[in-house]
């Protein structure tokens, strides 16, 4: 098993910083959805991780902890994630993306 970044929607959707999307070294990996968190009544959308592209470097954790000071991102073992975004389930829109969350572990 390996580590991937996991973003706490409740903390992320309370802010609107989007810094992690700008500092991830991998392209199309940390994406932003205007819808995520809205269903729980939060003001903003949330960032989320396409876990099939995450290399587990944890730069986003440093950015979220030290630059944004939100502490919303943690590294977790991929099999400990009940649901996550995968590239094949992500849809790009005009100004945002949406993702259908599924189990990231096959079988």
């Amino acid at each position: 098993m390996y580590l991937v970044a996991d973003i706490n929607v409740e903390i992320c959707a309370a802010k609107n910083c989007k810094l992690c999307t700008q500092y991830c070294p991998e392209a199309n990996t940390i994406l932003y959805s205007d819808e995520l968190g809205k269903d729980k009544g939060f003001k903003y959308g949330s960032a989320y991780v396409a876990v099939d592209r995450c290399k587990g470097c944890a730069q986003c954790v440093w950015v979220c902890d030290n630059m944004a000071k939100n502490h919303a991102i943690k590294m977790v073992m991929i099999d400990q994630l009940p649901q996550a975004a995968l590239t094949e389930n992500i849809t790009y829109g005009e100004k945002s993306t949406t993702a259908v969350l599924t189990s990231p572990v096959i079988g």
Partner: protein
């Protein structure tokens, strides 16, 4: 070399991978995208084999977003880590044999001008410190002396990271590396001053921990190279493997190095300032309005 080169041939759309369809339908081609929109559009850079947490990858990702017209851009690279990612983007990439990249880019840039006339076609060289300051040094300098109109970006990780950690001209004096166990005996080359002396119209140094600045600097460098003259950007992109930087401390290291030896510098000729202001509406180079006389003598 236009928007059409990425589009599907009729009837082939359903056979293309999802990533490709996303790139055609929601990529940055033909639109203006900025780093503040990152995470909401499909980027041209795809998956690549570079190390986890590599700052060079982050810089390349930002650079690809900063290109003013990605659909009219060709990148040129050479041996080194950078080309592993640069070649994995939906932007044509030309591989210059080691050290040849600025020679290749000179011919390419001239050829594109002959073929397309005034229509801007940007050539951007992205090569490592070894490719730019050591092995390709002669061709880099001569392309600047000849005033070849394209952008040269040095991805300076201060080591030959791809081949096991030999010292390069850009390594700091005293640095001990796996293949330089006694420490480097000479100073880091001052390529920024060399670029100014050689006649570059725009020269800047950046670190990738300021995405908006990276974007702004690359845009200016590419635009200046369209008509005025060569432009040079030197970017600190640490090698977390050869310098043993934990991946989650890469940006902390970038900040420390920025404060130490990579302070932001920008050099731009008067001609380039005038061109950016008049042609592209840049306001930052306009003369500041003189302070009112009352404000100056306010304390009297």
């Amino acid at each position: 070399m236009s928007l059409d080169y990425v589009k599907f041939s009729n009837g082939f759309e359903k056979f293309m991978p999802k990533e490709y369809r996303d790139m055609v339908e929601h990529g940055p081609f033909g639109k203006k995208v900025t780093v503040s929109q990152m995470g909401s559009f499909k980027e041209v850079l795809e998956e690549h084999p570079m190390c986890a947490g590599c700052a060079m990858t982050l810089f390349i990702r930002l650079a690809m977003i900063a290109f003013p017209n990605p659909e009219d851009t060709i990148t040129v690279g050479t041996a080194g880590c950078g080309r592993l990612a640069i070649s994995q983007a939906a932007i044509p990439f030309v591989y210059g044999n080691y050290g040849d990249q600025n020679g290749v880019a000179s011919g390419l840039s001239r050829g594109l001008r002959l073929r397309f006339g005034d229509k801007p076609k940007d050539v951007v060289v992205m090569a490592g410190d070894g490719g730019t300051a050591d092995i390709g040094f002669q061709q880099v300098l001569h392309s600047w002396f000849r005033k070849e109109r394209f952008t040269t970006i040095m991805l300076d990780n201060e080591v030959y990271g791809n081949t096991g950690g030999q010292e390069s001209g850009m390594t700091n004096r005293g640095a001990v590396l796996k293949m330089a166990p006694l420490g480097k005996k000479f100073e880091k080359m001052n390529m920024v001053e060399l670029a100014k002396v050689a006649g570059c119209a725009y020269v800047a140094t950046v670190v990738p921990n300021n995405p908006r600045r990276v974007e702004s600097v690359i845009k200016k460098a590419v635009l200046v190279a369209r008509e005025i003259g060569p432009s040079y950007i030197q970017a600190y992109t640490s090698c977390n493997i050869e310098y043993a930087i934990p991946t989650d401390k890469v940006l902390e290291d970038a900040k420390a190095v920025e404060n130490d030896r990579y302070q932001f510098q920008e050099y731009i000729t008067e001609e380039a300032k005038q061109y950016l202001t008049e042609r592209y509406g840049y306001k930052e180079f306009l003369a500041k309005p003189a302070a009112p006389a009352a404000a100056i003598s306010g304390k009297v």
